[in-house]
Amino acid sequence: MMRGLLGCVAILTLAAPMPQSSFDLHARYGQPDVQRFAIRPDITMTVEYGDDHRACILEIEPRQAFIRGRLAEMKTISKEETLRLLDEVAPPEIRGAEKVPLFSNDIETGSQCMGHGTFGQYANANISLSYIVCDPPAGRLTTGVDGARVQFTRPACESLTKWNGN
């Protein structure tokens, strides 16, 4: 009877869905090439690593589903908070000498509440921000940043360019 019971437990164990944790997947596939961290309660940072296992791309966004398409929810982070976070994860010492300052250029990318983009260029990294500006009757209003990206320019990051999805 005991043997039968153990058999049933074994069958149930085999049939149960295998919970896949980070530990399980790491053991099977090695280090992840991308990870996402909650850097504030409602803000995430997605990191893509280079061949040297150091960060090559950092994407700061309002928290939303990781597994989704390109149509993100319309959430934003204040410009001030975004700049604070950029200084936290890619401080000037890491970016290197400034070549093109952020907000010295601006590209309109949408209509009505306009999507805008700007980029900064530094010795070791490029930073791009996309943000939204609305035109209410009272005047222009920057509603917030919907995404910020830091792209490091180390040689170890060059191999990522081949993964263009095509």
């Binding site: 869905p17 919970p19 596939y29 909650a38 893509e48 390109r70 994860v89 999805g165 095509n166």
Partner: protein
Amino acid sequence: MLAAVTPQTSDEYYARYGKPDAERYVVRPDLVLAVEYGADGAACKMRIESRQSLMYSMAIRTNPTASVDEIMQALNEVVPPETRGEDLGPGKIFGQLAGAPPPEEYENVTIIQEFGGGAKDMKLSSVAVLFKRPDCQSLPKYSDPDWFKSLKPHSQSQVQR
């Protein structure tokens, strides 16, 4: 001096921000497995698709590199058929998927095939797996209107057709 304390590796980010809530693994040279974890630390959502760097995340994939066989092989590896539970048949969907199969419902997971590629040559571009554990309930499910809102443009156009 400051450069030394700014995190730049996985361990350093972990030390500062805690466990990642999502990760991506290279499961074949040109194929990745994206995973979003639930509050219990186990996978709640997965997507298997051709590898694409974040630097191209806004680009439309016109020719996914991974083959259907590779994608299905990886699916069976990470979610073996015997772990899916009873096959409950096709799931309900919002709108019409022109020619695309509906999601397949199992006792423990929902499996959604996603199609992409050129307009003339639609092919399987990715497979999403949604786990039905209680700890995953707070994450969006495919049956939420939000799921289709968040699908890729190709899948969206199929829905609208």
